[in-house]
Every structure is written in C-alpha cells, then in structure tokens.
C-alpha cells in the first residue's frame, strides 16, 4: 500500500512542477509574445556586401528536458532582422536587412564569410559537416556561436567541434583583444540573459553561472570562431524592442555582435 501512495505523490509532484513551469513560461510568453512573421523586409532583394548567415545544423538526439531545447531556428527570424536594423543604422556596412540560412551540406556557405549559429550546445555535426566547417574557417570564414549554457551543453558543443578543430584549444578572449575594441570598447561586459530569466534577478541558465567570451584561433592567432557561452545575444536582439527586456543587455548584445562582424571583416 505504501508503494502506490509514494508513486501517486511523485506523480503529483511532477505534474505540479510542470504546471508551475508552464504557468511561468506562459507568463513570460505573455510578456514576450512570439512573432514568427517571415515576410521579407524591404530591401532584402538588393544585393549587398554583407549577409547575416544563420547556420542550419542537425540536432543531437536528446531525452527528457533536453529534448525540448535546441534548434537552429531559435529566435529566428526576428532576432536576426532586428539586429541587422541596428547594424545598418550604426555602421557603414552595406548589409542586407534579411538573414540568409546556410548549411554545411551545400557549398553556399562559402559565399557568406560570416556565419551565426544559435544553440550549438545541441548540434550534432556529422564528420563531413564538421570537416566542411573547418574548411570554411580555413578559407577565411568566421563563425559566431551563441545561446548555449552550462556544462552539459558545452560538452555537446565541443563534441561536434572537436571532430575538426581539436588541433588547437578553445581559449578565453582577453579584454585587450581587438575584437572588444574594433568599434566599441567592451571592457566591462555583463552576462546577457535570455528571456527565460525574466525578471532577470538571475541571468544564468543551468550551471552556466559565469559568462565566457571564448574563441578558437587560427594558426595566425586570429579569432576564427567566437564563442559566446553562458549568454544569449539572440534573445537580446529579438527583444530589444520590448520594454520588459533591459536595455543594458540589449545594448551590449548589439555592440558585441557589431564588434564581432567588424572584426570578421577586418582580420
């Protein structure tokens, strides 16, 4: 008799937790309503110098709560387009107002020397795709990764990356590095949280307490893969127009990405 009671209590606890989570997430969604409008913005047909390319990648097969996370489409397309508005307004880069989606299957990626990848903590790159990513980098491409947190996602991230990039270590970027000064001086950086952290008393997810600006450098020491770990620039771009998202995070996210793009175009 004791065993059924224990099972019942456990089920009740789980249901309660899910209910509470869904209710909390529902509240966040009410404050940050999804907008999946995919209408191309004006000027997107124009041929330009710079395109914001988002990487489409295969997901890792996960179970439990991890199965609910991770996709190349996270924040897409609003984050990209909203960021591009800022890039066009704040710099002299002739950028296309609409993102492009690339993958590591076709060779189209080689026409887009800057590529952004979201949630790489859940990617699962086959060997051939990892190899192509390395070829992209070796030719001079630049990869910016964003929105993955904690030990578990880091392990998944490096598991795919190390298939082709294990010859050199991932390192923390020093404050003096040009990437933090190419346009904006970003010495005083803070952790940029996702909206899941609303109301932002806490800015980290899982055990990713400390934000890390890391990099994989090429043989010449140039940053080739800029790794934004334990932070969520994508949410900051996506919700920069939302008063519920703190301006200081959005501002830093814009500045960071602008610096990264300018760095990619000059190094």
């Amino acid at each position: 008799m004791r065993r059924p009671v224990a099972l019942f209590l456990a089920a009740l606890l789980l249901a309660g937790s899910l209910f509470a989570f869904q209710r909390g997430y529902g509240n966040i969604r009410r404050l940050f309503p999804e907008n999946d409008d995919d209408t191309p913005p004006p000027g997107s047909q124009e041929k330009t110098e710079f395109y914001f390319a988002r990487l489409r990648y295969p997901n890792v097969r996960a179970t439990g709560i991890w199965a609910m996370r991770g996709s190349w489409t996270v924040d897409y397309p609003k984050a990209d387009r909203q960021f591009l508005q800022g890039l066009i307004r704040l710099t002299r880069i002739q950028a296309n107002p609409m993102e492009r989606v690339v993958d590591l299957i076709s060779d189209d990626i080689f026409d887009y020397p800057f590529v952004y990848v979201v949630e790489p903590g859940h990617w699962d790159l086959p060997d051939a795709q990892a190899k192509k990513l390395r070829e992209f980098i070796d030719r001079g491409g630049f990869l910016m990764t964003d929105d993955f947190h904690g030990t578990f996602e880091w392990e998944l991230f490096t598991a795919s990356l190390n298939k082709a990039f294990a010859d050199r270590p991932i390192v923390d970027i020093e404050d003096e590095d040009p990437i933090f000064h190419v346009l904006y001086d970003l010495n005083d950086r803070v952790q940029v949280p996702g909206i899941v952290n609303y109301p932002f008393q806490k800015t980290y997810e899982y055990d990713g307490i400390e934000p890390k600006w890391r990099a994989w450098r090429d043989a010449k020491g140039r940053i080739a893969i800029a790794i934004c770990f334990n932070m969520d620039q994508g949410d900051a771009w996506e919700w920069a127009d939302n008063p519920n998202y703190p301006e200081k995070y959005a501002s830093q996210a814009y500045r960071t990405a602008i610096n990264y793009i300018l760095y990619a175009m000059t190094h």
Partner: protein, 743 residues
C-alpha cells in the same frame, strides 16, 4: 673594263666636273648642235622614197654621228681634286680585337694589307698604322694576334681626326669586322671626320651571318628585387644553323639552377625573345648566370652565356590602404599580405560615419586623423590603395597629395572598384582622374554586384603580375579555372599608354577592363575594377594560393620598385676593361623635390679589397642629379653606396651594384657589321669594300679632298668609248639603210 673604256675609274667621273679643254664657249657648241640638227632634218625630210618615220630615224642617226664629232672637237675633260703624291698620309686603322680571330679574319686582313694594299698605297702615300682596340694608338708593326678585349673604332678615328690638324691625312683605311663595342662611334666622331674632310674607306671582314651559332644578345633582369620575389628574365637570342632544334635556356646562381626551359630554335638569323620566371630567393647581391646549353658544332660558345647582378634587398615597403566602408575584400587583402614577409600594410577603414579602425600602425598616433593630409605623413608610404570611397570624402589637399604621391613621390597607387568608388564615387570629376589609367565614364551605377569571370589579355599573359604558374599555358588554364568575381566595375576606356592586363567578363560578348596599369610621373598607377576577388579565396580549397599570390605580386609590383629620396644608378650594369663606370644619383628633399645643394659621396667596394670614396658632382642642367665616372681597377662585381647630405642633415642612402667584365663583349655580335661600315663610309665620303674588291681603294683615295690636294684636268675626248660609239652609230646607220634599201 670601265677604266679601259673611259680612261679613268668610275670614282673620277663621280667626283669630277665636266669642262672643255678647247677653250671654246659651250654656247657655241649648243648652237652648232642645233644648226646641225636643222640641216640634217631638212635634208632628210625633203627626200622621198622612204616613209617619213624611217627618214626621221636615219636623220637622227646621222645627226648623232655629227653631234658626237662636234662634241669631241670641243675636247671634253674632267676636272678633279687629287691628293698630291707623297705629301699626304694615309691612316690605316686595324681592328686588333679578339673577334678578328674568328674565321681567320685577322690573318686575312693582314695578308691583304701586307701583300697588296700597303705596297700600292706606299707608291703614292706615306702610311701610318693605328690599332683600333681597347686603347687607340699608332703602331709601327701589326701585332701577331688580335688580342684587344674591346673594339673601339670611334676612339681610333677620333685620334686620327685630331692628328689631322698637325699632318695632312688624305684618307683612312679601316680594316675591321665592324663589331664595334666601344660606344664611341657616335655623331661626334662622324662630325670630327667630316670637319677634317677625311673619307673613311672601310674593308669589311668576316661573315655577315655566322654559320652555326646561338647567341644571347641581351638578358633583361630587374637590378633590384625584394626577397622571394618572382622575377622575369627576358632573354633576346639569335641563332643560325640550328633551325627547328631545341636548346636549354637556364638561370643559375652558382651551381643552383633557379629556372630553366627548353626552347625551340626559330629560323636562321631571326632574333627572338624568351621569358623565364624565377624566384629572387633570399636577400643578398647575386650574380646570376644566364646561359643556353651549347649545341654540337657551334663555332662560338662564349656568346652562349651572360651574367647579371641582382641586388635582393631585405626591405619592407609600406602600403597604406584606405577603405570607405567595411568589406570582405579588405579582410582578404590583409590576410594575403600577412603571408608576405616583405610587405607591410597599414589600413584605415571607416567603420561608422565618424570612426576609423586602423590596423598595421606603428604608433597610436599614426593615422589617428584618418587619411593623411601632409606630405610627411603620406610620403612615408611606398604605395597607396584607394578602396570603396567617394572622391568627395577627400579634401582638395588630400586629392592633390594622391596625385603627387604617384607623380612626385614616385609611389604606387591602386584604385579598387566598389559602390562608392571610381565613377560611382565621382572620381572622374576630381583632379585624381588625371592619374587614373582609364578615362572614367561620367555615370553612376557602373558598379555591379554580379558575377564576372576573368580573362587575361595578351599583355596580362606575359606579365609577372598575373603569373600564378611558371608555365604560361598552365597559368592561362589556372586563370580560366578561377571562381567568378563577386562584383565588377565598368570603368571606361583605357588611356593611351595604359596596359590592360585582365578583363572582367560578366556575360557573353561583354568584357570590361579589370586590371589596368600605367606609369604616371615617377610612379605607377593601377586600377582593379572589382571589390570581389575575395571569392578566389572563399570559393577555392583552403590550400589554394591563387588569391594570396595575386595580391602579393600586385602589391610587390606597386610598392617594390618605389624609389626613395636618394637613388643611385649606373648607366650600365656591366663595364668593360678600362671603360669608366658612370655613377648617377638623384637626390630629393623632404618634399621629394630635387635637392640641388646636396653633397653626395659614394663609397665603392670591389674584388680583392678594392675600396674607394668619391664625390659626385652636380650634373649640368639637371637639378638634384649628381654624377661622376670611376674606373674599376680589376674585373669583378662592385658595390657602391651613396650618401647624400644637406648641411648636417642626411637626406638618404642608396646602393647599386655593377660589374667590370674584360673581354667578354668581343664574343658577342661577332658577325661582320656591314651596315655600320657602309654607313660610316657613306657619312664621311668614303666607300665600303669587300676584301676581293679592295684593289680599287688606292685609286679612290687619290681623289680625296682632305690633306694637300691639287686640281687636275683629265681629257676624256680620247677615251676608247667615244670612238667605239662613233663607229657603232655609223654601223647602225649602214645596217638600217641596207635593210630599208636606202643605200
């Protein structure tokens, strides 16, 4: 035969003037001829029996006979100026250079002179013999063998001309193969001979085309280069006797072969060029040996190789790249340059409306206000790249500085295509349009973000700038296989003097100049009408070096040859024997204007511990140019370093290398230079002779107008030709009359 018929050689007729010894007036002769004509024709035309045309013909023959008799009565003669016997010297200039040893030319010349000419000449003239070798000199006896390491016909003739003021020189007899390499046979020498009215009679020895020989006529290599630069050797060759065969052309540095190729030999006597790309290698002064492997049966193998000095300098020219907005082209240009240890690239890019991002700067203050506005700041660079930026961004002062950078500084300027560049940036209306190698079309929208492939022009295929592969055919194929450009810019027509090296081809029957170069003032300017070569890097295997090689070569060309404030040079790379080296220095002040008040000293180092210091003197009429001559005491390579000072300030330094080579020139261009000898003789009133007709020479010399002369009248009325003509006319008349039945 001529002399038998006409009493005298043809030269007497050429030089003499017609006179009548009878002393009767020439007008009376004309009157008599006219009267005879009237009488004869009146008589003949009156007669009947024959058609009028035949009567006219017989009348003409009859009149000719009578007219000739009348003419002879007037005693025609020739008045000529002749040398007074034994009172005029005949100078005999003998080529005693080593090339006369070929084909037994010297033996033949000596035999002709000693066995025949000398005897004939000495009957009428005293003879003085001169040698036309390295140093002209009068000699009493001919040397046994020709051993002079140089042929200086000009110097010998000048000496004879100058001695003519002290003694009567009637003529010069020059026995030579005409292979002059002394460099003194110019207008000055000809003028000196003409002033003294001394005819030069040249007797040419040797074949006008050597039977079996391959010769390197010239080898052109840059005298200075950056380490690891690709150099282009252009060898000019000539061959005879080996048509259709192959020979190996090579460049060596000591025992190391730097480059070589098989060349197919063209038609006999044809001069042709071969190019060979090679790597300059590490820094240092190098003596490169350029040679063609001798073929079996070659008569002269010493003209199969030449040496050239190349000063490979370990320096790092600086390039300033200004970009109006961030773009991929800049990133990849920077990356290509970073692979090249000999190039130093500083760049400025406008990241926002009021911010720059600087790279490659040497101090935090350098270029902090953007594009330089002063000579001091801009002229510190050797080359300049103007990227995607509108002309209006630059102040008028800066625009003029860009022009002066090429024209006065002698720097290299490269313009790139882009949406705000060239005509889309209004450059056609700026003063900078003057230095561009194309005439920009006055229109917007010339920049297209459309793919375009690249095709090399003929000049581009030959140029080192676009050499991705050593072999020209492989190079062309590699260019053909390159990925398309991301964009192109329609420019306008190339200017006269500009060279289009490559064209962009955006579609069928569409082509636009892509890479155009030209010299401007002291500098050079290039236009690359695209901002999309970065695709050559991103769209090809990471190991492919096309993009890097292209940019490194283009920028080395742009910045590598740029001269600094002091430039030392020699008129030639190789001097022969005692010939002095001519050193010239161009000195400029801080503004790169000629510095006429400088003190320029040159320190020279040579083989065997040779060390000397000389001061160059200002060149007349050339402000800022200083020059001096210096004799290298022994054969071998020499290094000269010039230091220019103005007061206590050092304006700059420069070095140059040259060689003294003894004797080698005598083995090049060894065939008889008949053209030179004929020209020399014609310009001085003499004649060219072959050895087999040189016996006419003595009679020709008699008629010289130089020296002590006398006027002679020589009758010609008694020449056999006159009587033969008379007899011939009468015989003709008799035959005609018989045929027409008029006897």
């Amino acid at each position: 035969m001529f002399e038998f018929l006409f009493n005298y050689p043809l030269a007497v007729y050429r030089k003499g003037t017609l006179v009548f010894s009878s002393g009767w007036p020439a007008a009376l002769l004309l009157l008599g001829l006219a009267a005879l004509a009237a009488a004869v024709f009146w008589l003949f035309l009156r007669r009947g029996g024959l058609p009028a045309r035949r009567r006219l013909a017989l009348g003409a023959l009859e009149w000719s006979v009578l007219a000739l008799l009348l003419l002879l009565l007037w005693q025609p003669a020739l008045s000529v100026t002749v040398l007074k016997p034994q009172q005029n010297v005949v100078a005999v200039a003998f080529d005693t250079s080593q090339s006369m040893a070929l084909e037994e030319r010297y033996r033949q010349a000596r035999s002709l002179f000693e066995d025949r000419l000398a005897k004939d000449l000495q009957k009428r003239f005293p003879i003085r013999i001169y040698q036309a070798g390295e140093v002209p000199a009068r000699i009493e006896q001919l040397p046994a063998e020709p051993s002079a390491q140089r042929t200086d016909l000009g110097a010998a003739l000048r000496q004879i001309a100058s001695e003519s003021s002290m003694m009567p020189v009637g003529a010069v007899v020059l026995l030579t193969d005409g292979a002059d390499n002394g460099g003194n046979l110019g207008p000055d020498t000809i003028q000196a001979l003409r002033r003294a009215r001394i005819p030069v009679h040249a007797i040419g020895f040797g074949s006008e085309r050597i039977a079996s020989d391959i010769e390197i006529l010239d080898a052109d290599l840059p005298a200075r280069a950056l380490p690891s630069s690709r150099l282009m050797l252009t060898a000019t060759l000539r061959q005879s006797g080996f048509r259709g065969k192959t020979a190996k052309l090579s460049v060596r540095d000591g025992d190391r072969v730097l480059a070589q190729k098989e060349v197919r030999l063209p038609a006999d006597g044809e001069t042709w060029r071969e190019t060979l790309a090679l790597n300059a290698g590490a820094a240092g002064v190098k003596t490169l040996d350029i040679g063609v492997q001798p073929l079996d049966g070659e008569t002269n193998t010493r003209n199969n190789r030449v040496e050239r000095l190349v000063d490979v300098r370990d320096r790092k020219p600086r390039i300033l790249y200004f970009e109006g907005e961030p773009r991929w082209e800049m990133k990849f240009i920077r990356r290509a340059v970073e692979e090249d240890a000999q190039l130093d690239l500083a760049s400025i890019v406008r990241t926002t409306e009021n911010r720059f991002y600087r790279q490659g700067i040497r101090s935090p203050q350098e270029l902090e206000r953007g594009f330089p506005s002063t000579v001091e700041e801009l002229f510190a660079f050797q080359a300049l790249i103007i990227g995607n930026v509108e002309a209006g961004y630059f102040t008028p002062v800066q625009q003029n500085l860009i022009c002066e950078f090429a024209g006065r500084r002698g720097g290299g300027v490269l313009f790139l295509g882009g949406r705000s560049a060239l005509s889309d940036g209004g450059w056609q209306r700026s003063p900078v349009a003057e230095i561009l190698p194309v005439t920009l079309a006055d229109r917007k929208g010339a920049f297209r973000r459309e793919p375009a492939t690249v095709e090399l022009t003929r000049a581009g295929a030959e140029s080192l700038l676009l050499r991705l592969e050593e072999d020209p055919e492989k190079n062309a194929a590699r260019w053909k296989a390159l990925p398309y450009l991301a964009d192109y810019h329609m420019t306008g027509e190339p200017k006269p003097g500009a060279t289009v090296l490559a064209e962009a081809i955006p579609g069928v029957r569409l082509r636009h100049p892509l890479l155009v170069t030209q010299n401007y003032g002291r500098g050079r300017v290039a236009l690359l009408a695209t901002g999309g070569t970065w695709r050559w890097q991103m769209a090809q295997d990471a190991r492919d070096q096309s993009h890097e090689t292209f940019w490194q070569q283009l920028l080395r060309w742009l910045a590598g040859g740029v001269e600094e404030r002091v430039t030392l040079m020699t008129t030639r790379q190789t001097y022969s024997g005692e010939e002095p080296a001519v050193l010239r220095a161009e000195v400029r002040d801080q503004n790169y204007l000629p510095a006429p008040g400088a003190v320029v000293s040159v320190h020279l180092l040579g083989p065997g511990g040779v060390s000397d210091t000389i001061e160059l003197q200002p060149a007349r009429g050339e402000p800022g140019v200083y020059e001096a001559q210096w004799r290298a005491p022994r054969p071998g390579p020499y290094l000269a370093e010039a230091t220019a000072r103005e007061g206590t300030e050092e304006l700059g330094r420069d070095t140059v290398t040259f060689r003294r080579e003894d004797g080698t020139r005598e083995f090049f261009r060894t065939e008889q230079n008949r053209e030179l000898l004929e020209r020399l003789a014609a310009q001085t009133g003499g004649r060219y002779y072959r050895p087999d007709n040189a016996q006419d020479l003595v009679k020709e010399i008699e008629l010289s107008e130089a020296g002590i002369t006398v006027r002679e009248t020589r009758p010609v009325w008694n020449a056999p030709a006159a009587f033969l003509l008379l007899a011939g006319l009468k015989t003709a008349e008799w035959l005609v009359r018989r045929r027409w039945g008029a006897i």
